[in-house]
């Protein structure tokens, strides 16, 4: 692989759009089992799953579809609580959702009644302190730390990052699928997340858009260095993006293997090493390529 550019994680990279400090969260999933009740019967989805994500690491969860990966993501996001075991972030058990761990779902799920800009600004708006008296217009805002940017500046930066500044006044129904998913990404990034949780974020995009968005995601991650937990069933996507690929079995999901991918970024899709890893991972999934 010929890499003409150095890896873009040099600290002096001019004016990074998002925090460059080692701000990634450490995620520990230990001995987690979970089940759904479906028509009264218990349906096990996760069976004693353990793994962890180091700060700033990009981890892909790979498995057959419907195996329970998305359930795992909901647990990490704090949207559900595991039946058994613990999920913790930076050593603290996750008890509920928190804007430091943002989820991007397969569907962009933008609010159709909000413009692109208002959708991106959802997080800052939701986290804003309530007005003490709604009619007085005075908000009981905690003083911002010195040097922290205002919500409007962060929204501007996020829109610029995904290249949608010109569309900030558009409504979601006016966007293409790829643009909508970019807005969803910007909506997540605005919150300066420590962990980005991606649930097959490019699954519904056309293949060209998907490739381009994968490249952009790598750039973003190299720049901001949050931790990433990506669920996918696309082997190439997992290998192109992640430091480490965790392979799951059929439902109930168990960790069957971990594949470390040390190839430097930016990666090349037909790097022989990736091709080799791909064969290995497909074999782990029971597919002889």
């Amino acid at each position: 692989m010929v890499s003409t550019q150095g890896i873009a994680q040099s600290p002096q990279s001019a004016q990074p759009a998002f925090k460059t400090a080692a701000s990634g969260a450490r995620i520990d999933v230990s001995d987690v089992s979970h089940r759904f009740s479906l028509h009264g019967a218990a349906l096990p989805v996760l069976d004693d799953v353990s793994f962890s994500v180091a700060p700033g690491e990009f981890v892909a969860l790979l498995g057959p579809s419907g195996c329970g990966k998305s359930t795992l993501l909901r647990l990490v996001a704090g949207l559900d609580v595991p039946a058994l075991g613990t999920v913790s972030s930076n050593g603290v058990a996750i008890r509920g959702p928190d804007p430091s761990r943002v989820v991007v779902f397969q569907d962009p799920t933008l609010y159709p009644w909000r413009t692109v800009r208002a959708n991106v600004g959802l997080g800052p708006e939701a986290q804003r302190r309530r007005r003490r008296f709604p009619w007085s217009g005075v908000r009981s805002v905690e003083p911002r730390p010195e040097g922290e940017r205002s919500a409007e500046q962060r929204i501007d930066a996020a829109l610029r990052l995904v290249g949608l500044t010109d569309f900030e006044a558009a409504y979601p129904h006016q966007l293409s699928g790829g643009m909508a998913q970019r807005v969803a990404l910007a909506r997540a990034l605005v919150n300066d997340p420590e962990l980005l949780v991606l649930d097959e974020p490019f699954g519904k995009l056309d293949s060209l858009t998907r490739l381009r968005m994968q490249g952009e995601l790598v750039k973003l991650w190299l720049d901001a260095r949050f931790s990433v937990l990506l669920v996918t069933h696309d082997v190439e996507e997992a290998l192109f993006l992640a430091n480490r690929v965790i392979v799951f079995s059929e439902r109930p999901a168990r960790v069957t293997a971990e594949v470390r991918n040390d190839a430097p970024y930016p990666r090349h899709r037909d790097d022989p090493k990736l091709v080799e890893l791909r064969r290995e991972v497909l074999a782990l999934l029971g597919l002889v390529a």
């Binding site: 949207l79 959702p97 928190d98 989820v103 009644w113 939701a126 309530r130 979601p172 129904h173």
Partner: protein, 363 residues
């Protein structure tokens, strides 16, 4: 908003299509060859026809003597001549704007008025036929069918009474509708959002809601201190039920992923209700408001006929007592304009609030 029952926008006035993209009126500049330039604009014929029809109708009024003497026939003549002038003006203005128009410009106001001209022709034909059958030939039995000038007479001579009736009706309706809509909205959000509220209110709503509000009439007039407050209660009841049910269904049907997104972004319950559930439910809420408005009209008129001593319902009752049939027709016309106007207002408000939706129904 696909689920609007009992309401077909296509049957509305074709002349009121204030859509900027009314495709039918648009010329396609790239495909227009020089030879077909004369066909580029919409036809002016309906405007000329409308003017002609009203002119002929005016001549009929002027030179064909009525079978009996009717006051205000002169005013009818003036009205017809004004409508003739309207047709001419629209035709001239549309012709001018079509000639001056850039190929890609959207239709001007005059051209949009042009789409109403076929209706002006039909109106001329209808009014003339009505006048011939009533005033000229008296084929329609006399006291029950009034000629057009009798309606004009009512509007001129009985204006104070009719005007105050409209004001009273409007006041009563506004009180009842606003109270009912707010109560229904709050109830609907409560049932849709909170399991506890749903547990207690849902059975009550199911039992009381389908009961026609007018069934409460005898009791309401007995319980309430005044017939006005009783009527406010009845109108609110009639409005509240559809608003509550449709708000509830709107809130219950919100995509749960919208909540997940907001929660991961740090939203509290207040934000989830005010900024997620309610905006997402608004299209459905407006269906409820529309149905509630229709229900409130009917309760309003019944309440005014039964107990309130003012308003259009009372006016109808009063006119019936005097066998003043032309007054009844006039009151019906005013009532139709008022109800239709209020519904138009509601839809305008909705269009403004829900501009983010595509494919809104046009009223």
């Amino acid at each position: 908003m696909s689920g609007t029952p009992h309401f077909d926008p296509a049957s509305g006035h074709p002349g009121v299509g204030f859509q900027p993209h009314a495709a039918g009126n648009r010329t396609k500049p790239s495909r227009v060859s020089v030879a077909s330039v004369s066909q580029a604009g919409p036809s002016l014929l309906p405007a000329w026809l409308a003017a002609l029809a009203w002119l002929v109708s005016a001549g009929l009024t002027r030179w064909w003597p009525d079978a009996d003497e009717w006051p205000h026939t002169g005013d009818l003549l003036v009205l017809k001549l004004m409508l003739t002038a309207t047709g001419l003006l629209v035709g001239v203005a549309a012709r001018r704007s079509i000639l001056a128009r850039q190929p890609d410009a959207s239709p001007s106001r005059a051209e949009r008025w042009l789409t109403a001209m076929p209706w002006l022709v039909a109106l001329a034909v209808g009014v003339t036929a009505w006048e011939i059958l009533s005033a000229k030939l008296e084929w329609l039995p006399r006291p029950f069918f009034a000629p057009p000038q009798a309606l004009i007479a009512v509007f001129f001579d009985d204006f104070p009474r009719l005007g105050s009736s409209v004001a009273h009706s409007f006041g009563l309706l506004a009180y009842g509708y606003v109270i009912g809509a707010v109560a229904g909205f709050v109830t609907g959000v409560g049932i849709g959002w909170s399991r506890a509220v749903g547990y207690w209110l849902h059975p009550v709503l199911r039992l009381i809601g389908p009961l026609p509000a007018t069934a409460w009439l005898p009791l309401a007039f007995f319980f309430f201190p005044s017939s006005f407050s009783a009527s406010v209660f009845l109108i609110a009841l009639a409005t509240g039920f559809p608003v509550a049910v449709l708000t509830w269904s709107g809130v219950a049907g919100v995509n749960s992923a919208f909540y997940d997104i907001a929660r991961t972004l740090g939203a509290r319950p207040g934000f989830l209700i005010l900024k997620v559930a309610i905006p997402a439910a608004l299209p459905s809420v407006f269906v409820g408001l529309f149905m509630g408005l229709g229900a409130s009209f009917s309760v309003l008129i019944v309440a005014e006929m039964m107990g309130v001593k003012a308003g259009l319902g009372w006016y109808l009752q009063w006119a019936q007592g005097w066998a003043a049939y032309s007054n009844m027709y006039a009151a019906l016309l005013v009532m139709a304009l008022m109800c239709s106007g209020l519904i138009t207002l509601l839809f305008r408000f909705r269009d403004r609030l829900l501009a983010w939706q595509k494919g809104l129904l046009k009223w």
